[in-house]
């Protein structure tokens, strides 16, 4: 990525194919004649199987109709989409001209369970197994626990049985020390996977870094800013507009103070896990991203300054080709929408993708089959040219990954990268009539949904619409599974009584008690007057934020974290001022 790689209106081609005839009329005519010849043979075969060839149609998992075979003329009406190159706008064929040839995708498993030092042990273990980020850097993809997501501390009654579950029990600056002491903060990347406790989590990390003497400018990593997902996830949340403003607050702060920090993650994965089709995932991801970008522009930010710090987390599920084409279509749509929004730096138009292979399609039945499924998912992501990957572990439907299952997931990536020859050529599927045609199909289907969202005033104004669409797809999927029209091996076909014994991970039951003791000790030992003064300032800063002020909330929270305020305490202030309720 060159800093000078800018696109101006004059050099942005409407079509790189303009002025040339990519497919001559004669060529098209020959292609159509060939299709007729093929069609006769196909219909004949179909008849043998008792199928009427003329009415025969197959559909992708999203419901898009596909032909039994594709020909050059199937992509002839969009020559600008065929005449494309990896690393060139609109990036259908990938962001990077070399794709994986000098730097493979990053292996980024999500880590987080139990106490911070337990998570740290898994971090160190996976790093020793060859988990590497971009440019060979150390990279940690860390997920916070459910208690933290809910904006509570571990001693809250509702936290019982959930401390350190599905994430790490980290609630304070002190817990950050337990997690990161001894690691070179200025030479590593940390993704903080948090939900609506996004700001307190960043504040703890910043307060901790400051105590370590590491300038914030040198910190690399990611905040998720997943507020928009309250449209399709049933967790308690801030109202949609407040969520969008909180995202803009973090983006504004980081734009000024943390140039290496990625500020927003567009979480298509969560949409597809909630039931969205691939087409919906593309449409709603772009709709959320563009709406949030407008929210930032409204607060006076320049799209070329903040858009390059947006990232995407995209699912890779069972329909191999549709999932690949989804990513190609997403890159094209996003690049064009960002250009329309006023971005001119190509980095502002990039869909940097962390693939999370689907967990929803993994099964508790015959769990080792999931190794095969996730290998196919990872293959699809690699063929689509994503930047980073987390492969779900085979015990996904059973529990938090064991060390063994986490290692297997890493090995899948390493085998694909280093044994299969997959990384030899950039966009190896580019130019496949089917792949290009399906990419076009997904693009237009997604744009229809996107336009509907825009008609409703933009993403944050129509959470109910988004939810209803995704839920309808979830129901349809399940009905198809129940009717055996969507096959899940081991669930509705090839069911076996034979049980595959696999080890099931369990979080140390002592973790909860220790986490509670720690938060109690923290409260007992902290300088109360310093804490009170800092919390009072967080209250005032939140009031000013609610009144429209930009940029004051994170600094106030950092001071509070430095005075040993907890995630639960900081979130309580936000909840009180901004509203907090189940989304539906």
């Amino acid at each position: 990525m060159q800093a000078t790689d800018k696109i101006t209106r004059s050099d942005m081609p409407v079509s790189p194919a303009e002025g040339v005839t990519p497919f001559s009329p004669e060529f098209i005519a020959r292609s159509r004649a060939l299709e007729d010849e093929w069609r006769a043979k196909f219909d004949q075969l179909a008849k043998k199987f008792g199928v009427d060839g003329a009415s025969y149609v197959q559909r992708t998992d999203s419901g898009l109709p596909v032909k039994p075979a594709y020909f050059p003329h199937d992509v002839a009406d969009t020559p600008e989409n065929v005449l494309a190159a990896p690393g060139v706008f609109p990036f259908t064929r990938g962001l990077n001209a070399a794709q994986y040839q000098f730097m493979p995708w990053a292996n980024q498993p999500v880590i987080g369970y139990g106490l911070p030092e337990e998570t740290r042990r898994r971090m160190d273990y996976l790093q020793a197994q060859g988990m590497t980020g971009y440019f060979g850097n150390t990279f940690y993809n860390l997920v916070y626990d459910l208690v933290s997501h809910e904006g509570l501390d571990p001693d809250h009654p509702a936290a019982e049985g959930r401390v350190g579950q599905c994430g790490m029990a980290v609630y304070s600056r002190e817990d950050n020390a337990r997690l990161f002491d001894g690691l070179p903060l200025d030479r590593m990347n940390v993704v903080h996977i948090s939900y609506y406790e996004n700001l307190p989590v960043l504040a703890h990390y910043l307060a901790y870094a400051r105590r370590r003497g590491v300038p914030w400018e040198k910190l690399g990593g990611n905040s998720m800013s997943w507020y928009y997902q309250s449209a399709y996830v049933g967790m308690t949340c801030f109202p949609p507009k407040a969520g969008m403003d909180l995202a803009a607050e973090l983006i504004a702060f980081c734009t000024k103070r943390m140039p290496r920090w990625n500020t927003l993650n567009l979480f298509g994965y969560g949409m597809e896990e909630a039931g969205a089709t691939a087409v919906q995932e593309v449409a709603f991801t772009v709709a959320a991203g563009i709406d949030y970008a407008r929210g930032c522009i409204a607060k006076g930010l320049d799209p070329d300054v903040f858009l390059g710090r947006f990232g995407f987390q995209i699912s890779q599920a069972n329909d191999l080709f549709e999932e690949i084409c989804k990513i190609r279509a997403l890159r094209r749509i996003w690049a064009r929408k960002c250009h329309e929004l006023g971005a001119r730096d190509t980095r502002s138009m990039h869909v940097r993708i962390h693939t999370h292979t689907s967990g929803a399609v993994l099964t508790a039945q015959q769990p080792l089959n999931n190794l095969i499924r996730t290998t196919l998912h990872a293959l699809g992501a690699a063929l689509a040219g994503v930047q980073a990957m987390e492969v779900s572990t085979f015990d996904e439907a059973l529990a938090i990954p064991t060390e063994h299952s986490a290692t297997m997931a890493l090995r899948i990536q390493q085998i694909l990268q280093e044994e299969s020859g997959l990384t030899r050529v950039a966009d190896p599927l580019g130019g496949s009539y089917y792949v290009e045609a399906l990419t076009n199909q997904i693009e237009s289907a997604a744009l229809k949904i996107y336009d509907e969202v825009e008609k409703r005033g933009g993403y944050h104004k129509c959470h109910d619409y988004v939810r209803a669409q995704i839920e309808a797809s979830a129901l349809r999927w399940r009905d198809l599974v129940d009717a055996k029209e969507r096959i899940l091996v081991g669930v509705n076909k090839y069911v076996s009584d034979e049980t595959q014994e696999v080890e099931v991970f369990r979080v140390n039951p002592e973790s909860e008690r220790i986490a509670i003791e720690r938060v109690n000790a923290l409260r007992a030992n902290r300088d109360l007057s310093k804490w009170e003064a800092a919390m009072a300032e967080v209250h005032r800063a939140t009031e000013r934020f609610a009144a429209g002020e930009v940029g004051g909330l994170i600094p106030a929270m950092v001071e509070a974290s430095d005075a040993d305020a907890t995630t639960g305490e900081l979130m309580a202030v936000l909840k009180a001022h901004l509203g907090w309720a189940p989304p539906h």
Binding site: L146, V147, H149, E150, P157, A158, E160, G161, R162, Q165, C166, Y195, V233, G234, M235, T236, G270, E273, A274, G275, A360, T363, A364, Q365, A397, L398, A399, E471, A474, L475, R478, D482, L488, V491, V504, R506, V507, P582
Partner: protein, 137 residues
């Protein structure tokens, strides 16, 4: 025939992102003619308050992220304390087999893991729900 409609309370902790299964089940139970009340709860006592208020026949809790044991303990204990032990308690989601026996002992009658069909839940409820009460005319 004055067959009483079966009333079901389905709950999921607000902390949990996984609500696809339970919301699907809600739709399927409604299609099967049951009345379904769905709540996101923070603390288990909220389920009980709702169960009593709504006079339900079945309480179903979805859990895919651990924390099911304290919820099961609290719900079954409070139902008993309130003389509601005839309310059918079922759990679904990702619940490790090692916890099944303990939960059954508490009074959880049905546990439905990943891949369970909605039909199997409907059948189970119909077979195990308390006999309909005779309404004095």
């Amino acid at each position: 025939m004055n067959q009483r409609i079966i009333r079901v309370l389905l709950g999921k902790t607000t902390m949990e992102a996984h609500d696809r299964g339970v919301r699907y089940l809600a739709t399927k139970l409604r299609e099967a003619g049951m009345e379904v009340i769905f709540i996101n709860f923070l603390e288990p006592k909220e389920i009980l308050d709702a169960a009593i208020q709504e006079d339900v026949d079945v309480v179903g809790v979805s859990s895919s992220v651990e924390g099911h044991l304290p919820v099961a303990r609290e719900v079954t204990r409070r139902l008993k304390e309130n003389g509601k032990e005839d309310v059918l308690v079922v759990f679904g989601g990702v619940i490790p087999e090692r916890d099944f026996a303990g939960m059954r002992e508490m009074g959880v009658k049905g546990i439905f893991g990943p891949g369970s069909s909605a039909d199997s839940v409907v059948e189970f409820i119909r077979a195990n729900v308390r006999p309909r009460r005779v309404h004095a005319e």
